[in-house]
């Protein structure tokens, strides 16, 4: 018989908190695994009472949602954590933020509303801002126009299983050019598809349709994630939880 852990099973999850955090500065070079490790250690240092899975190697209850690629910065990364004791979300936010390295900043922490569905279900698109040092805004604008005029732009994407062709055009809900002389800025809204289309793939598509070749490595920042609504904006995925909490507090106030 295999050994079983002695003693009672770990305490259950009594509270789910959803966090929005950033990946800024040099830490844009962190991979998803790097961030996950840093977060788990920061939770321990901040003494957040995590709920754990059962068994000999218990894992803290953490669910990650769509991590930004290595090298891309982000203002909108999301994670959900399960706690074994109820805590004030603002206090958890502050404690965790203090315990994470500068650049991984916890911007928001809200309690998940009961029956409000999963966080992943509230995210199907991302808004990106891509700085292109050495590229002139008018050159970018021309390339974007050429790209949008196409029905389909196929680019080769490196995946775990080798190179694979993807249609970069279909996933792009919106694209526009801006910026200043010497540094164009590409704004994108990209739908979540499989395999994922990322800013790099869109840039490869701009090279394909308009021969746009940035002389320096571009810098991408994910500015928002959420559901793409009919108006073409990306909705705040924590909005429903925040609204439920406000309602609940409002009801309490009227009693």
């Amino acid at each position: 018989m295999a050994r079983q852990p002695t003693g009672p099973p770990p305490p259950p999850t009594v509270q789910r908190l959803r966090l929005r955090y950033t990946k800024r500065g040099p830490l844009r070079f962190a991979s998803h695994r790097d961030l996950a490790r840093a977060l788990e250690r920061a939770l321990r240092r901040a003494r957040v009472p995590m709920a754990f899975s059962a068994g000999f190697s218990p894992h803290p209850k953490i669910s990650y949602v769509g991590a930004a690629p290595t090298g891309a910065a982000s203002e909108a990364e999301y994670v959900e954590i399960g706690l074994a004791e109820v805590r004030d979300p603002d206090e958890v936010r502050a404690a965790l933020d203090a315990s994470l390295p500068p650049g991984v900043d916890v911007l928001e922490c809200v309690e998940a509303a009961e029956g409000g569905g999963s966080l992943a279900d509230r995210i199907d698109a991302a808004a990106w801002r891509v700085e292109l040092p050495g590229v002139e805004p008018e050159d970018l604008a021309a390339a974007v126009a050429a790209f949008l005029a196409r029905e389909e732009v196929t680019v080769a994407k490196r995946t775990k299983n080798g190179l694979r062709d993807v249609d970069a055009r279909a996933a792009v809900a919106a694209a526009s050019a801006g910026g200043t002389a010497g540094c164009a800025i590409l704004s994108l809204v990209v739908r979540q598809v499989t395999p994922a289309v990322r800013p790099d793939d869109v840039l490869a598509a701009l090279t394909a349709v308009a021969d746009l070749r940035p002389p320096l490595p571009p810098r991408a920042v994910r500015e928002a994630q959420g559901r793409l609504d009919d108006s073409g904006t990306v909705a705040d995925p924590l909005g429903p939880d925040r609204a439920a909490r406000a309602r609940c507090q409002g009801e309490r106030a009227t009693v």
């Binding site: 070079f29 995590m50 000999f56 390295p101």
Partner: protein, 642 residues
């Protein structure tokens, strides 16, 4: 201006390389001090990839000790992978520190910690990338003083042309002494230039400056003499020894990287030194005497370190952790303290001893019992007497069986191949042993899914050990014995499928042997290998045996020696060894007698429990064994995560 960050120029390159996170710094507990606030600037290098170098305890200790000084700062640098190195050369970005991305060339000192000789080509690559002349003689007062440390520094002769100094022994105190010397010299307006600075450093206890020692060779190719060229430097350089480890509770704030590293845990060194007397073990010979940290000192380091890092595992580190005089009580009290907190406690590989199973049970009582590692090192009782690591076959089988019976599913056994006097039969006994262990283990545990992994590598004779005179087994001998062992293990499939075999080919061991017991002439081989692209020699995907043998064949025969001369040749009693002027405290006559005892299969006991056997260390260095028990207990604490 000095010390300005290279980051803005480095950043665009990072977008184009593998695992860029390893180059950005910002680790938890890392420190960046203002350049102009301090007099002395140290760059500390671990000459291997970041993932290997970051967890290195030695570097972490010195980093903290130096940064605690008001007059010094220390930053870290690691070997850069070839993809980034190529881009750095293309864009003129020099070797940088990960803390503030300052150019290594701007620092006053570059301290390089060599745990293994296979980092030598990475030293040359870093110097070249930094824009520091490769050869010490070509450097002037504007260049960093290149200081080698770590165990390999006990024979730094193969890199004598490339380093300015080598430091022997414990680093905690000597880095302070070196800082004082450099500071005074700078404040006095650098009198006498680099030569004077090095002469002053050569008078610091434990510091060896190769340029002040001339080596002459005899007609047989062996060293005729090593003589000092100035009379104000010591004729023999002795090692440094830190006494009272409780006064040096470092690292207090262990570094925690964002990137993945080879040790995802915190370590606390529970004692330093070892007097077990295993004859192959350089670490056990050069770090004497045994100095224990007290149970309370360990307890507070574990507590502080966990709070500072958020790690969930603590390794209790030393050369033979179960030998700590308070280990039983320590294991119990730490397990009590961290019960129910998902904090793991572990010991590194241990001697084959039933007590170690008890200890491991205690440390793992709150967690999983996955694997336990023992190090019998030698396959037969006879060869274990030769290496002075005596354990009978019956005791070995009994101990491992006890482990299986206590719920450990996987036992790993470490062995060496190519030990002095070894025959095929000695190695083949490993197969018998593994088979017996599985048979007895299945019977005792009532389970079929237990496993035994045999991990085996070629033995490399090291300086300052009784085996320093031994002829190294050739790569062919090692490979052929490993082949026989594999066949023997696979002979009975029903048992063999429960036995795993992990082994290292013989070829890298020959290069390690050349570098371990080499003299200054070997420096030419190192340089040629680096010029031909040799880097990361500890990595099988980068190591090229052909490159090393070709470089050795080109450089050594004109000097009257060759690769075999340095490796497979047995030395005679009175041959001048390249490291004879470097004093680990061990008496050369005692080492020779111990070598003769090895050949006649005679054992020597541990001086902690039996009378002194005159190895020479304590009287030479004015040190003594520091062991408990202290009779103290760990105090109750509120712990993280409960």
């Amino acid at each position: 201006m000095s010390g300005e960050t290279l980051y803005p120029r480095l950043e665009p390159l990072l977008a184009q390389v593998q695992k860029p996170i390893q180059y950005v710094g910002g680790e938890l507990n890392a420190q960046v001090k203002a350049w102009d606030d301090v007099a002395v600037h140290w760059a500390l290098m671990y000459p291997d990839a970041y993932e290997v170098g970051l967890p290195n305890q030695g570097l972490m200790i010195l980093y903290e000790v130096l940064n605690e000084r008001d007059d010094a700062l220390a930053e870290r640098t690691y070997a850069v992978w070839p993809d980034l190195a190529a881009l750095m050369r293309e864009h003129g970005v020099g070797q940088f520190t990960v803390d503030a991305h300052r150019p290594v060339a701007d620092f006053d000192l570059l301290g390089v910690s060599f745990a293994t000789e296979l980092g030598y080509t990475n030293l040359l690559e870093a110097l070249d990338l930094a824009g520091v002349p490769l050869h010490a003689v070509d450097r002037d007062a504007s260049h960093p003083v290149v200081v080698a440390g770590g165990h390999a520094a006990f024979n730094p002769e193969p890199i004598a042309d490339f380093v300015d100094c080598a430091v022997l022994g414990d680093g905690e105190q000597v880095v302070g002494d070196i800082t004082d010397v450099v500071r005074a010299w700078k404040e006095q307006g650098r009198p006498g230039g680099r030569e004077e600075l090095l002469a002053r450093l050569a008078r610091v206890e434990g510091v060896y400056v190769p340029r002040f020692y001339a080596v002459s060779y005899g007609p047989d190719g062996a060293i005729a003499a090593v003589t000092r060229t100035r009379d104000d430097v010591p004729a023999r350089v002795g090692k440094r020894t830190v006494m009272d480890l409780d006064e040096w509770p470092y690292p207090k704030q262990p570094l925690v990287p964002m990137a993945e590293s080879v040790h995802e845990r915190m370590s606390v060194e529970i004692f330093r030194g070892c007097t077990r007397g295993c004859r192959f073990c350089q670490a056990g010979m050069i770090t004497r005497p045994v100095r224990e940290r007290t149970i309370t000192g360990i307890g507070s380091m574990v507590d502080q370190g966990l709070r500072a890092t958020g790690y969930e595992e603590v390794g209790l580190l030393s050369l033979s952790s179960a030998d700590h005089s308070e280990i039983g009580q320590l294991a119990k009290e730490l397990a009590d303290r961290y019960e129910g907190t998902n904090t793991g406690l572990s010991l590194p590989s241990t001697r084959v001893d039933a007590f170690n199973v008890t200890l491991a049970n205690e440390l793992s009582r709150n967690g999983r019992r996955s694997g336990l590692t023992f190090a019998p090192e030698g396959g037969s009782e006879r060869i274990r007497r030769v290496i002075n690591k005596t354990v009978s076959k019956d005791d070995l089988v009994r101990t491992v069986t006890t482990a299986y019976a206590n719920g450990w599913q996987q036992v790993k056994l470490y062995f060496m191949c190519g030990l002095p006097t070894e025959t095929d039969e000695d190695v083949l006994e490993i197969a018998d042993l593994a088979v017996e262990v599985i048979r007895a283990g299945r019977a005792a545990s009532g389970r079929k899914d237990i496993r035994c992994t045999v991990s085996i590598g070629g033995f490399v004779p090291k300086p300052h050990t009784p085996f320093q005179w031994a002829g190294q087994a050739s790569a062919e001998t090692i490979d052929s014995r490993l082949r026989l062992l594999r066949q023997a293990i696979n002979a009975d499939r029903r048992i063999g499928r429960s036995i795993g075999l992990r082994y290292h080919d013989g070829e890298p061991g020959i290069v390690e042997g050349l570098l371990s017991r080499g003299d200054r002439r070997v420096g030419r081989v190192v340089e040629r290998v680096w010029r031909e692209g040799g880097r990361f020699d500890g990595w099988s995907e980068h190591f090229s045996y052909e490159r090393w043998t070709a470089a050795a064949a080109a450089e050594l025969p004109p000097l009257g020696v060759d690769l075999d001369w340095y490796t497979t040749r047995e030395r005679i009693e009175h041959e001048v060894l390249p490291w004879d002027h470097l004093d680990s405290g061990l008496d050369k006559e005692w080492l020779w007698d111990d070598w003769q005892d090895a050949l006649s299969e005679e054992e020597v006991a541990d001086c902690r429990w039996t009378p002194c056997y005159d190895c020479g260390v304590c009287p030479t260095n004015g040190t003594e064994i520091q062991i408990g028990p202290t009779g103290r207990s760990l105090l109750p604490l509120t712990v993280v995560g409960r």
